[in-house]
Protein backbone atom coordinates (compact mmCIF):
# COMPACT_ATOMS: atom_id res chain seq x y z
CA UNK A 1 0.00 0.00 0.00
CA UNK A 2 1.33 3.43 -0.82
CA UNK A 3 0.66 6.31 1.47
CA UNK A 4 -0.10 9.66 -0.11
CA UNK A 5 2.05 12.40 1.40
CA UNK A 6 -0.06 15.25 2.58
CA UNK A 7 0.90 18.67 1.34
CA UNK A 8 2.17 21.37 3.63
CA UNK A 9 -1.19 23.05 3.23
CA UNK A 10 -2.97 19.93 4.50
CA UNK A 11 -0.60 19.80 7.46
CA UNK A 12 -1.23 23.43 8.35
CA UNK A 13 -5.00 23.01 7.96
CA UNK A 14 -5.01 19.95 10.20
CA UNK A 15 -2.95 21.70 12.86
CA UNK A 16 -5.11 24.82 12.74
CA UNK A 17 -8.22 22.67 13.13
CA UNK A 18 -6.68 20.98 16.15
CA UNK A 19 -5.75 24.34 17.70
CA UNK A 20 -9.23 25.74 17.03
CA UNK A 21 -10.88 22.66 18.52
CA UNK A 22 -8.76 22.77 21.68
CA UNK A 23 -9.47 26.48 21.98
CA UNK A 24 -13.19 25.74 21.67
CA UNK A 25 -13.00 23.09 24.42
CA UNK A 26 -11.38 25.59 26.73
CA UNK A 27 -13.90 28.32 26.02
CA UNK A 28 -16.92 26.03 26.10
CA UNK A 29 -15.73 24.15 29.17
CA UNK A 30 -14.90 27.33 31.03
CA UNK A 31 -18.15 29.05 30.29
CA UNK A 32 -20.53 26.25 31.14
CA UNK A 33 -20.17 26.71 34.85
CA UNK A 34 -21.22 29.72 36.86
CA UNK A 35 -18.41 29.17 39.35
CA UNK A 36 -16.00 29.85 36.51
CA UNK A 37 -17.23 33.44 36.26
CA UNK A 38 -16.93 33.95 39.99
CA UNK A 39 -13.41 32.54 40.12
CA UNK A 40 -12.34 34.17 36.88
CA UNK A 41 -13.88 37.65 37.23
CA UNK A 42 -15.17 38.51 40.68
CA UNK A 43 -12.32 37.26 42.88
CA UNK A 44 -9.43 38.83 40.90
CA UNK A 45 -11.34 42.11 40.71
CA UNK A 46 -11.54 42.13 44.51
CA UNK A 47 -7.79 41.49 44.87
CA UNK A 48 -6.83 44.25 42.47
CA UNK A 49 -9.42 46.58 44.02
CA UNK A 50 -7.75 46.03 47.39
CA UNK A 51 -4.37 47.13 46.01
CA UNK A 52 -5.84 50.29 44.44
CA UNK A 53 -7.58 51.17 47.70
CA UNK A 54 -4.34 50.60 49.61
CA UNK A 55 -2.37 52.90 47.28
CA UNK A 56 -5.09 55.56 47.50
CA UNK A 57 -5.20 55.33 51.28
CA UNK A 58 -1.45 55.79 51.46
CA UNK A 59 -1.75 58.86 49.25
CA UNK A 60 0.47 57.42 46.52
CA UNK A 61 0.36 58.85 42.97
CA UNK A 62 -2.75 57.78 40.97
CA UNK A 63 -0.46 56.37 38.28
CA UNK A 64 0.47 53.61 40.72
CA UNK A 65 -3.21 52.64 40.91
CA UNK A 66 -3.28 52.56 37.12
CA UNK A 67 -0.12 50.44 37.14
CA UNK A 68 -1.73 47.84 39.38
CA UNK A 69 -4.86 47.79 37.21
CA UNK A 70 -2.74 47.07 34.13
CA UNK A 71 -0.71 44.55 36.14
CA UNK A 72 -3.89 42.85 37.33
CA UNK A 73 -5.28 42.65 33.81
CA UNK A 74 -2.03 41.20 32.53
CA UNK A 75 -1.72 38.71 35.42
CA UNK A 76 -4.88 37.17 34.06
CA UNK A 77 -3.17 36.41 30.74
CA UNK A 78 0.05 35.49 32.47
CA UNK A 79 -1.76 32.95 34.67
CA UNK A 80 -3.88 31.47 31.93
CA UNK A 81 -1.37 31.28 29.12
CA UNK A 82 1.74 30.38 31.02
CA UNK A 83 0.81 28.54 34.20
CA UNK A 84 -2.57 27.07 33.35
CA UNK A 85 -1.66 26.02 29.82
CA UNK A 86 1.42 24.15 30.93
CA UNK A 87 -0.23 22.70 34.04
CA UNK A 88 -3.14 21.52 31.87
CA UNK A 89 -0.72 19.01 30.34
CA UNK A 90 -0.46 17.44 33.81
CA UNK A 91 -4.24 17.20 34.15
CA UNK A 92 -4.60 15.81 30.64
CA UNK A 93 -2.18 13.09 31.67
CA UNK A 94 -4.11 12.33 34.84
CA UNK A 95 -7.41 12.21 32.91
CA UNK A 96 -5.97 9.81 30.34
CA UNK A 97 -6.14 12.40 27.56
CA UNK A 98 -2.41 12.81 26.99
CA UNK A 99 -2.20 9.40 25.32
CA UNK A 100 -4.92 10.53 22.92
CA UNK A 101 -3.00 13.70 22.07
CA UNK A 102 0.25 11.77 21.62
CA UNK A 103 -1.30 9.32 19.19
CA UNK A 104 -2.93 12.10 17.14
CA UNK A 105 -1.07 13.25 14.04
CA UNK A 106 -0.92 16.91 15.04
CA UNK A 107 1.82 18.96 16.59
CA UNK A 108 1.78 19.31 20.37
CA UNK A 109 2.40 23.00 19.76
CA UNK A 110 -0.96 23.29 17.97
CA UNK A 111 -2.76 21.70 20.89
CA UNK A 112 -0.98 24.02 23.31
CA UNK A 113 -1.73 26.98 21.05
CA UNK A 114 -5.41 26.08 21.26
CA UNK A 115 -5.20 25.92 25.04
CA UNK A 116 -3.41 29.27 25.13
CA UNK A 117 -5.89 30.96 22.77
CA UNK A 118 -8.86 29.56 24.67
CA UNK A 119 -7.29 30.68 27.92
CA UNK A 120 -6.62 34.15 26.49
CA UNK A 121 -10.21 34.53 25.32
CA UNK A 122 -11.61 33.37 28.66
CA UNK A 123 -9.18 35.67 30.39
CA UNK A 124 -10.20 38.72 28.42
CA UNK A 125 -13.39 38.71 30.52
CA UNK A 126 -11.34 38.96 33.68
CA UNK A 127 -9.04 41.58 32.19
CA UNK A 128 -12.02 43.62 31.01
CA UNK A 129 -13.56 43.41 34.48
CA UNK A 130 -10.37 44.71 36.06
CA UNK A 131 -9.99 47.57 33.57
CA UNK A 132 -13.64 48.58 33.98
CA UNK A 133 -13.11 48.57 37.73
CA UNK A 134 -10.12 50.87 37.29
CA UNK A 135 -11.78 53.28 34.90
CA UNK A 136 -15.27 53.55 36.38
CA UNK A 137 -14.90 52.76 40.06
CA UNK A 138 -11.43 54.01 40.94
CA UNK A 139 -11.12 56.47 38.04
CA UNK A 140 -7.44 55.76 37.58
CA UNK A 141 -5.83 57.88 34.88
CA UNK A 142 -5.21 56.12 31.57
CA UNK A 143 -3.91 57.90 28.47
CA UNK A 144 -3.51 55.85 25.33
CA UNK A 145 -2.21 57.83 22.36
CA UNK A 146 -1.15 54.97 20.18
CA UNK A 147 -3.56 52.03 20.26
CA UNK A 148 -1.61 50.23 17.56
CA UNK A 149 1.58 50.17 19.61
CA UNK A 150 -0.39 49.15 22.71
CA UNK A 151 -1.93 46.27 20.74
CA UNK A 152 1.44 45.25 19.27
CA UNK A 153 3.14 45.18 22.66
CA UNK A 154 0.25 43.21 24.13
CA UNK A 155 0.34 40.67 21.30
CA UNK A 156 4.11 40.20 21.52
CA UNK A 157 3.88 39.76 25.29
CA UNK A 158 1.18 37.11 24.93
CA UNK A 159 3.17 35.23 22.25
CA UNK A 160 6.30 35.24 24.38
CA UNK A 161 4.25 33.93 27.32
CA UNK A 162 2.99 31.16 25.03
CA UNK A 163 6.61 30.28 24.22
CA UNK A 164 7.58 30.18 27.88
CA UNK A 165 4.42 28.22 28.71
CA UNK A 166 5.34 25.59 26.14
CA UNK A 167 8.77 25.16 27.70
CA UNK A 168 7.02 24.51 31.04
CA UNK A 169 4.53 22.20 29.31
CA UNK A 170 7.41 20.01 28.15
CA UNK A 171 8.35 19.49 31.80
CA UNK A 172 4.79 18.54 32.66
CA UNK A 173 4.82 15.96 29.90
CA UNK A 174 7.27 13.90 31.89
CA UNK A 175 7.52 15.10 35.44
CA UNK A 176 3.84 15.62 36.28
CA UNK A 177 3.59 16.16 40.00
CA UNK A 178 7.15 17.43 40.43
CA UNK A 179 6.55 20.00 37.70
CA UNK A 180 3.30 20.98 39.42
CA UNK A 181 5.16 21.62 42.67
CA UNK A 182 7.83 23.62 40.86
CA UNK A 183 5.09 25.65 39.25
CA UNK A 184 3.61 26.48 42.66
CA UNK A 185 7.05 27.34 43.96
CA UNK A 186 7.81 29.73 41.12
CA UNK A 187 4.48 31.48 40.80
CA UNK A 188 4.65 34.05 43.58
CA UNK A 189 8.33 35.03 43.11
CA UNK A 190 7.66 35.47 39.42
CA UNK A 191 4.55 37.56 40.10
CA UNK A 192 6.68 39.72 42.36
CA UNK A 193 9.60 40.05 39.94
CA UNK A 194 7.50 40.76 36.90
CA UNK A 195 5.99 43.77 38.62
CA UNK A 196 2.38 42.74 38.52
CA UNK A 197 1.33 44.69 41.61
CA UNK A 198 3.91 47.50 41.46
CA UNK A 199 6.72 48.38 39.03
CA UNK A 200 9.95 46.48 39.66
CA UNK A 201 12.16 48.02 36.98
CA UNK A 202 13.26 51.66 36.66
CA UNK A 203 12.49 52.14 40.38
CA UNK A 204 15.24 53.10 42.79
CA UNK A 205 14.04 51.02 45.77
CA UNK A 206 14.71 47.74 43.97
CA UNK A 207 18.43 46.76 43.65
CA UNK A 208 19.78 46.97 40.11
CA UNK A 209 20.77 43.29 40.00
CA UNK A 210 17.21 42.34 40.86
CA UNK A 211 15.87 44.66 38.17
CA UNK A 212 18.19 43.08 35.61
CA UNK A 213 17.07 39.62 36.74
CA UNK A 214 13.44 40.68 36.43
CA UNK A 215 13.93 41.67 32.79
CA UNK A 216 14.73 38.04 31.98
CA UNK A 217 11.00 37.40 32.38
CA UNK A 218 9.06 38.42 29.25
CA UNK A 219 6.14 39.60 31.37
CA UNK A 220 8.31 42.24 33.09
CA UNK A 221 9.31 43.74 29.75
CA UNK A 222 5.82 43.52 28.29
CA UNK A 223 4.19 44.96 31.38
CA UNK A 224 6.58 47.91 31.52
CA UNK A 225 5.94 48.67 27.86
CA UNK A 226 2.17 48.43 28.21
CA UNK A 227 2.23 50.71 31.25
CA UNK A 228 4.32 53.27 29.36
CA UNK A 229 1.89 53.26 26.43
CA UNK A 230 -1.36 53.21 28.43
CA UNK A 231 -0.51 55.24 31.53
CA UNK A 232 2.26 57.61 30.50
CA UNK A 233 0.91 58.08 26.97
CA UNK A 234 4.23 57.20 25.35
CA UNK A 235 4.58 55.82 21.83
CA UNK A 236 6.78 53.66 19.66
CA UNK A 237 9.90 55.80 20.28
CA UNK A 238 9.77 55.00 24.00
CA UNK A 239 9.01 51.29 23.78
CA UNK A 240 10.96 50.09 20.76
CA UNK A 241 13.65 48.47 22.97
CA UNK A 242 10.84 46.59 24.71
CA UNK A 243 9.45 45.47 21.36
CA UNK A 244 12.87 44.25 20.26
CA UNK A 245 13.35 42.42 23.55
CA UNK A 246 9.95 40.74 23.22
CA UNK A 247 10.74 39.70 19.64
CA UNK A 248 14.04 38.27 20.91
CA UNK A 249 12.17 36.35 23.63
CA UNK A 250 9.84 34.91 21.00
CA UNK A 251 12.68 34.07 18.63
CA UNK A 252 14.42 32.16 21.41
CA UNK A 253 11.51 30.67 23.32
CA UNK A 254 9.45 29.20 20.47
CA UNK A 255 12.28 27.09 18.97
CA UNK A 256 13.50 26.16 22.47
CA UNK A 257 9.95 25.08 23.36
CA UNK A 258 9.73 23.00 20.20
CA UNK A 259 13.01 21.29 20.98
CA UNK A 260 12.05 20.80 24.62
CA UNK A 261 8.70 19.23 23.68
CA UNK A 262 10.39 16.86 21.22
CA UNK A 263 13.15 16.04 23.67
CA UNK A 264 10.78 15.31 26.54
CA UNK A 265 8.50 13.25 24.32
CA UNK A 266 11.43 11.12 23.17
CA UNK A 267 12.77 10.80 26.70
CA UNK A 268 9.31 9.72 27.87
CA UNK A 269 9.13 7.15 25.07
CA UNK A 270 12.56 5.83 25.97
CA UNK A 271 11.88 5.62 29.68
CA UNK A 272 8.29 4.45 29.26
CA UNK A 273 6.90 7.34 31.28
CA UNK A 274 5.13 9.34 28.60
CA UNK A 275 1.60 8.36 29.50
CA UNK A 276 2.30 6.90 32.90
CA UNK A 277 0.03 8.43 35.51
CA UNK A 278 0.31 9.12 39.23
CA UNK A 279 3.93 10.20 38.96
Amino acid sequence: MTLVSPTLRDEITANMRAAKARMWVRIKGGNRELTHYIAEVVLPVLTIGAYVILYKTLGLPPSLGAAVIIGGAMIAFWTNILWNMSAQWFWEKEMGNLEMYMVAPVSRMSVLLGMAMGGAINTSLRATGIILLGVFVFQVPFQVHDLLVAGLVFLLTVISLYGLGMVFASLYMLYGREAWHTNMLLQEPVFFLSGSYFPTIYVSVIPVWLQVTATLIPMTVGLDAIRRVTIQGQGLMAVWPHILALIAFIAILIPVARMALNYMENLGKREGRLTLRWQ
Binding site: K20, N97, E99, G272
Partner: protein, 325 residues
Protein backbone atom coordinates in the same frame (compact mmCIF):
# COMPACT_ATOMS: atom_id res chain seq x y z
CA UNK B 1 -4.47 -14.45 -2.35
CA UNK B 2 -1.45 -13.11 -0.51
CA UNK B 3 -2.22 -9.96 1.38
CA UNK B 4 0.10 -7.10 2.33
CA UNK B 5 1.64 -7.15 5.77
CA UNK B 6 0.04 -4.44 7.87
CA UNK B 7 1.88 -4.83 11.18
CA UNK B 8 5.26 -6.44 11.61
CA UNK B 9 7.77 -6.80 14.41
CA UNK B 10 11.27 -8.18 14.11
CA UNK B 11 13.15 -9.33 17.20
CA UNK B 12 11.27 -6.68 19.15
CA UNK B 13 12.56 -6.28 22.68
CA UNK B 14 11.64 -3.86 25.44
CA UNK B 15 13.29 -3.76 28.83
CA UNK B 16 12.06 -1.53 31.66
CA UNK B 17 14.24 -0.41 34.48
CA UNK B 18 13.11 -2.25 37.59
CA UNK B 19 12.94 -0.95 41.12
CA UNK B 20 16.36 -0.83 42.84
CA UNK B 21 17.51 -4.30 43.79
CA UNK B 22 14.89 -6.09 41.72
CA UNK B 23 16.65 -6.05 38.35
CA UNK B 24 15.30 -5.01 34.97
CA UNK B 25 11.97 -6.20 33.63
CA UNK B 26 11.89 -7.76 30.18
CA UNK B 27 8.44 -6.87 28.86
CA UNK B 28 9.03 -8.09 25.31
CA UNK B 29 11.68 -10.60 24.35
CA UNK B 30 12.57 -10.95 20.67
CA UNK B 31 9.04 -10.88 19.36
CA UNK B 32 8.56 -11.65 15.67
CA UNK B 33 5.08 -11.09 14.36
CA UNK B 34 3.45 -10.41 11.02
CA UNK B 35 -0.19 -9.38 10.77
CA UNK B 36 -1.82 -9.16 7.38
CA UNK B 37 -4.07 -6.43 6.07
CA UNK B 38 -7.70 -7.33 6.69
CA UNK B 39 -6.91 -9.41 9.77
CA UNK B 40 -8.22 -9.16 13.30
CA UNK B 41 -5.30 -10.42 15.31
CA UNK B 42 -5.68 -11.20 18.99
CA UNK B 43 -2.89 -11.10 21.48
CA UNK B 44 -3.77 -13.23 24.49
CA UNK B 45 -1.93 -13.28 27.73
CA UNK B 46 -2.12 -12.55 31.44
CA UNK B 47 -1.35 -9.18 33.07
CA UNK B 48 2.30 -8.29 32.59
CA UNK B 49 2.71 -10.60 29.59
CA UNK B 50 3.78 -7.70 27.34
CA UNK B 51 0.54 -7.07 25.41
CA UNK B 52 0.19 -3.37 26.26
CA UNK B 53 3.92 -2.80 25.78
CA UNK B 54 3.61 -4.20 22.27
CA UNK B 55 0.65 -1.97 21.47
CA UNK B 56 2.33 1.12 22.92
CA UNK B 57 5.39 0.57 20.75
CA UNK B 58 3.27 0.11 17.63
CA UNK B 59 1.16 3.15 18.53
CA UNK B 60 4.32 5.34 18.77
CA UNK B 61 4.02 5.87 22.54
CA UNK B 62 7.07 3.86 23.50
CA UNK B 63 10.44 3.12 21.95
CA UNK B 64 11.73 -0.44 21.73
CA UNK B 65 15.01 -1.29 23.45
CA UNK B 66 16.02 -3.17 20.31
CA UNK B 67 14.45 -4.70 17.23
CA UNK B 68 12.06 -3.14 14.75
CA UNK B 69 8.34 -2.54 14.51
CA UNK B 70 6.48 -1.60 11.34
CA UNK B 71 2.98 -0.37 10.62
CA UNK B 72 2.07 -0.35 6.92
CA UNK B 73 5.76 -0.61 6.10
CA UNK B 74 6.71 2.40 8.22
CA UNK B 75 9.24 1.84 11.00
CA UNK B 76 7.35 3.29 13.96
CA UNK B 77 10.20 4.81 15.92
CA UNK B 78 11.49 6.71 12.87
CA UNK B 79 8.16 7.64 11.27
CA UNK B 80 5.94 8.41 14.24
CA UNK B 81 4.11 11.31 12.63
CA UNK B 82 3.33 9.33 9.46
CA UNK B 83 2.20 6.31 11.45
CA UNK B 84 -0.11 8.45 13.61
CA UNK B 85 -2.07 9.48 10.52
CA UNK B 86 -3.17 5.93 9.82
CA UNK B 87 -3.68 4.45 13.26
CA UNK B 88 -5.79 4.90 16.35
CA UNK B 89 -5.68 3.40 19.80
CA UNK B 90 -8.36 2.46 22.29
CA UNK B 91 -7.29 1.51 25.79
CA UNK B 92 -10.04 -0.30 27.65
CA UNK B 93 -10.93 1.14 31.01
CA UNK B 94 -9.78 4.59 29.91
CA UNK B 95 -12.32 7.31 29.28
CA UNK B 96 -10.50 10.11 27.50
CA UNK B 97 -12.44 13.25 26.78
CA UNK B 98 -13.91 16.15 28.69
CA UNK B 99 -16.70 15.55 31.17
CA UNK B 100 -18.22 18.96 30.62
CA UNK B 101 -18.71 18.33 26.89
CA UNK B 102 -21.48 16.22 25.37
CA UNK B 103 -20.90 12.99 23.45
CA UNK B 104 -21.23 14.82 20.13
CA UNK B 105 -18.96 17.66 21.21
CA UNK B 106 -16.29 15.25 22.42
CA UNK B 107 -16.39 13.31 19.17
CA UNK B 108 -16.24 16.53 17.16
CA UNK B 109 -13.19 17.56 19.17
CA UNK B 110 -11.43 14.23 18.55
CA UNK B 111 -12.27 14.46 14.84
CA UNK B 112 -10.45 17.79 14.70
CA UNK B 113 -7.27 16.21 16.04
CA UNK B 114 -7.29 14.25 12.78
CA UNK B 115 -8.10 17.27 10.64
CA UNK B 116 -11.55 16.08 9.50
CA UNK B 117 -13.69 18.61 7.64
CA UNK B 118 -16.98 19.71 9.20
CA UNK B 119 -19.04 17.55 6.85
CA UNK B 120 -16.70 14.57 7.14
CA UNK B 121 -16.72 14.81 10.93
CA UNK B 122 -20.50 15.09 11.17
CA UNK B 123 -21.06 12.05 8.93
CA UNK B 124 -18.53 10.00 10.84
CA UNK B 125 -19.99 10.97 14.21
CA UNK B 126 -23.50 10.10 13.03
CA UNK B 127 -22.41 6.64 11.85
CA UNK B 128 -20.40 5.80 14.94
CA UNK B 129 -23.07 7.03 17.33
CA UNK B 130 -25.64 4.81 15.61
CA UNK B 131 -23.35 1.77 15.42
CA UNK B 132 -22.44 1.98 19.08
CA UNK B 133 -25.95 2.71 20.35
CA UNK B 134 -25.15 6.21 21.56
CA UNK B 135 -28.02 7.91 19.69
CA UNK B 136 -30.03 8.68 22.81
CA UNK B 137 -27.02 10.14 24.58
CA UNK B 138 -25.60 12.32 21.84
CA UNK B 139 -26.31 15.55 23.73
CA UNK B 140 -25.55 14.14 27.17
CA UNK B 141 -22.45 15.40 28.93
CA UNK B 142 -19.75 12.79 29.23
CA UNK B 143 -19.68 13.24 33.02
CA UNK B 144 -23.31 12.06 33.16
CA UNK B 145 -22.69 8.85 31.22
CA UNK B 146 -22.43 5.45 32.87
CA UNK B 147 -19.09 3.64 32.72
CA UNK B 148 -20.30 1.43 29.86
CA UNK B 149 -21.42 4.38 27.77
CA UNK B 150 -18.20 6.26 28.46
CA UNK B 151 -16.40 3.20 27.15
CA UNK B 152 -18.58 3.24 24.02
CA UNK B 153 -17.65 6.88 23.53
CA UNK B 154 -13.99 5.91 23.88
CA UNK B 155 -14.49 3.27 21.20
CA UNK B 156 -16.21 5.76 18.89
CA UNK B 157 -13.21 8.03 19.37
CA UNK B 158 -10.90 5.23 18.30
CA UNK B 159 -12.64 4.93 14.96
CA UNK B 160 -13.28 8.64 14.36
CA UNK B 161 -10.48 8.98 11.78
CA UNK B 162 -11.43 5.73 10.01
CA UNK B 163 -7.89 4.46 10.61
CA UNK B 164 -6.24 1.74 8.55
CA UNK B 165 -4.92 0.08 11.69
CA UNK B 166 -6.61 0.07 15.09
CA UNK B 167 -5.02 -1.06 18.32
CA UNK B 168 -7.59 -2.21 20.83
CA UNK B 169 -6.08 -2.80 24.25
CA UNK B 170 -8.64 -4.73 26.31
CA UNK B 171 -11.50 -2.85 24.60
CA UNK B 172 -14.32 -4.67 26.38
CA UNK B 173 -12.85 -4.29 29.85
CA UNK B 174 -15.70 -3.29 32.14
CA UNK B 175 -18.29 -3.44 29.38
CA UNK B 176 -21.62 -5.18 29.89
CA UNK B 177 -22.48 -8.13 27.64
CA UNK B 178 -24.67 -6.08 25.28
CA UNK B 179 -22.09 -3.31 24.81
CA UNK B 180 -19.33 -5.86 24.21
CA UNK B 181 -21.47 -7.55 21.60
CA UNK B 182 -22.25 -4.23 19.90
CA UNK B 183 -18.55 -3.46 19.78
CA UNK B 184 -17.73 -6.80 18.20
CA UNK B 185 -20.46 -6.32 15.60
CA UNK B 186 -19.21 -2.83 14.84
CA UNK B 187 -15.62 -3.97 14.36
CA UNK B 188 -16.67 -6.81 12.08
CA UNK B 189 -18.75 -4.51 9.89
CA UNK B 190 -15.93 -1.96 9.80
CA UNK B 191 -13.55 -4.67 8.59
CA UNK B 192 -15.65 -5.71 5.61
CA UNK B 193 -13.72 -3.82 2.93
CA UNK B 194 -10.63 -5.92 3.67
CA UNK B 195 -8.20 -3.02 3.98
CA UNK B 196 -8.37 -2.52 7.74
CA UNK B 197 -6.36 -4.27 10.41
CA UNK B 198 -7.07 -4.72 14.11
CA UNK B 199 -4.62 -5.75 16.78
CA UNK B 200 -6.63 -6.69 19.82
CA UNK B 201 -5.43 -7.63 23.27
CA UNK B 202 -7.82 -9.33 25.60
CA UNK B 203 -8.20 -11.54 28.63
CA UNK B 204 -11.43 -12.93 27.28
CA UNK B 205 -10.71 -16.13 25.39
CA UNK B 206 -14.23 -16.47 24.03
CA UNK B 207 -14.03 -12.98 22.61
CA UNK B 208 -10.76 -13.76 20.85
CA UNK B 209 -12.19 -17.04 19.59
CA UNK B 210 -15.23 -15.28 18.14
CA UNK B 211 -13.51 -12.28 16.62
CA UNK B 212 -9.94 -13.06 15.64
CA UNK B 213 -8.67 -14.51 12.40
CA UNK B 214 -5.49 -15.43 14.24
CA UNK B 215 -4.29 -15.24 17.81
CA UNK B 216 -0.89 -15.02 19.38
CA UNK B 217 -0.43 -16.36 22.88
CA UNK B 218 2.06 -14.30 24.82
CA UNK B 219 3.60 -14.92 28.21
CA UNK B 220 6.56 -13.20 29.87
CA UNK B 221 7.26 -11.22 26.73
CA UNK B 222 7.45 -14.18 24.37
CA UNK B 223 4.99 -15.36 21.76
CA UNK B 224 4.40 -19.01 22.61
CA UNK B 225 2.04 -19.87 19.76
CA UNK B 226 0.47 -18.08 16.83
CA UNK B 227 -2.20 -19.44 14.53
CA UNK B 228 -5.93 -19.44 13.81
CA UNK B 229 -8.07 -20.33 16.84
CA UNK B 230 -9.22 -23.48 15.05
CA UNK B 231 -5.68 -24.69 14.37
CA UNK B 232 -4.50 -23.87 17.87
CA UNK B 233 -7.38 -25.84 19.33
CA UNK B 234 -6.81 -28.70 16.89
CA UNK B 235 -3.23 -28.98 18.08
CA UNK B 236 -4.43 -29.99 21.54
CA UNK B 237 -7.42 -32.02 20.40
CA UNK B 238 -5.60 -35.24 21.33
CA UNK B 239 -5.24 -34.00 24.89
CA UNK B 240 -8.48 -34.23 26.83
CA UNK B 241 -9.87 -31.13 28.53
CA UNK B 242 -11.94 -31.60 31.66
CA UNK B 243 -14.12 -29.28 33.70
CA UNK B 244 -14.49 -30.32 37.34
CA UNK B 245 -16.62 -28.45 39.87
CA UNK B 246 -15.50 -28.96 43.47
CA UNK B 247 -16.43 -27.77 46.94
CA UNK B 248 -15.02 -26.35 49.10
CA UNK B 249 -12.47 -24.37 47.07
CA UNK B 250 -9.16 -26.12 46.43
CA UNK B 251 -6.63 -24.74 48.91
CA UNK B 252 -3.45 -26.03 47.26
CA UNK B 253 -3.95 -25.79 43.51
CA UNK B 254 -0.28 -26.51 42.88
CA UNK B 255 -0.71 -30.06 44.22
CA UNK B 256 -2.91 -30.83 41.20
CA UNK B 257 -0.15 -29.70 38.86
CA UNK B 258 2.22 -32.22 40.40
CA UNK B 259 0.01 -35.16 39.44
CA UNK B 260 1.82 -36.99 36.60
CA UNK B 261 0.00 -36.50 33.30
CA UNK B 262 -1.59 -33.14 34.25
CA UNK B 263 -0.38 -30.58 31.74
CA UNK B 264 -2.06 -27.55 33.21
CA UNK B 265 -4.84 -26.38 35.44
CA UNK B 266 -6.83 -23.20 35.98
CA UNK B 267 -9.37 -22.39 38.64
CA UNK B 268 -12.34 -20.04 38.83
CA UNK B 269 -13.72 -19.69 42.35
CA UNK B 270 -17.21 -18.68 43.28
CA UNK B 271 -17.10 -17.08 46.69
CA UNK B 272 -20.90 -17.04 47.08
CA UNK B 273 -21.36 -20.79 46.56
CA UNK B 274 -17.95 -21.80 47.92
CA UNK B 275 -17.25 -23.82 44.81
CA UNK B 276 -14.41 -23.87 42.32
CA UNK B 277 -14.48 -24.78 38.67
CA UNK B 278 -11.24 -26.41 37.60
CA UNK B 279 -10.17 -26.59 33.97
CA UNK B 280 -7.61 -29.27 33.32
CA UNK B 281 -5.66 -30.29 30.27
CA UNK B 282 -4.41 -33.87 30.58
CA UNK B 283 -2.03 -36.05 28.63
CA UNK B 284 -4.64 -38.80 28.54
CA UNK B 285 -7.60 -39.96 30.56
CA UNK B 286 -5.67 -42.52 32.63
CA UNK B 287 -4.65 -39.59 34.83
CA UNK B 288 -8.21 -39.13 36.13
CA UNK B 289 -8.09 -41.56 39.08
CA UNK B 290 -4.88 -40.01 40.51
CA UNK B 291 -6.35 -36.56 39.98
CA UNK B 292 -9.59 -37.32 41.81
CA UNK B 293 -7.63 -38.84 44.71
CA UNK B 294 -5.55 -35.68 44.97
CA UNK B 295 -8.70 -33.56 45.01
CA UNK B 296 -10.06 -35.69 47.84
CA UNK B 297 -6.78 -35.41 49.77
CA UNK B 298 -7.15 -31.62 49.49
CA UNK B 299 -10.43 -31.95 51.40
CA UNK B 300 -12.60 -31.07 48.39
CA UNK B 301 -15.55 -32.98 47.03
CA UNK B 302 -16.38 -33.31 43.31
CA UNK B 303 -19.85 -31.94 42.51
CA UNK B 304 -19.78 -32.18 38.79
CA UNK B 305 -17.38 -33.18 36.08
CA UNK B 306 -17.33 -33.49 32.32
CA UNK B 307 -15.16 -33.56 29.28
CA UNK B 308 -15.17 -30.35 27.22
CA UNK B 309 -14.27 -29.30 23.72
CA UNK B 310 -10.87 -27.63 23.62
CA UNK B 311 -11.02 -23.85 23.92
CA UNK B 312 -8.39 -21.16 23.57
CA UNK B 313 -8.11 -21.22 27.35
CA UNK B 314 -7.13 -24.88 27.13
CA UNK B 315 -4.53 -23.95 24.52
CA UNK B 316 -3.20 -21.37 26.94
CA UNK B 317 -3.19 -23.85 29.85
CA UNK B 318 -1.46 -26.36 27.63
CA UNK B 319 1.30 -23.88 26.81
CA UNK B 320 1.79 -22.13 30.12
CA UNK B 321 0.59 -24.73 32.61
CA UNK B 322 -1.89 -22.40 34.26
CA UNK B 323 -4.95 -20.33 33.39
CA UNK B 324 -5.33 -16.62 32.83
CA UNK B 325 -7.51 -16.09 35.91
Amino acid sequence: MKRDISIETRALRRVFKGVPGAGDVVALDSVDLAIEEGEIFGLLGPNGAGKTTMIKILATLLLPTSGEAYVKGLEVSKNASKVRKIINLVSGGETPGYGILSVKENLWFFSQLYGLSRQGANERIKNLVTQLGLDNYIDTRMSKLSTGYKQRLNLARGFINNPSVVFLDEPTLGLDVLSAKQLRTMIKSWMTDGTKTVLLTTHYMAEADEMCNRVGIIDQGRILACDTPQKLKAKIASRPSWKIEVTPNIQELDTLKTVPGVIGVSEVSNIETGTSTLKLVLEDESVMSDLLSTINRNGSRVLNMGKSEPTLEDVYINLVGKGLQ
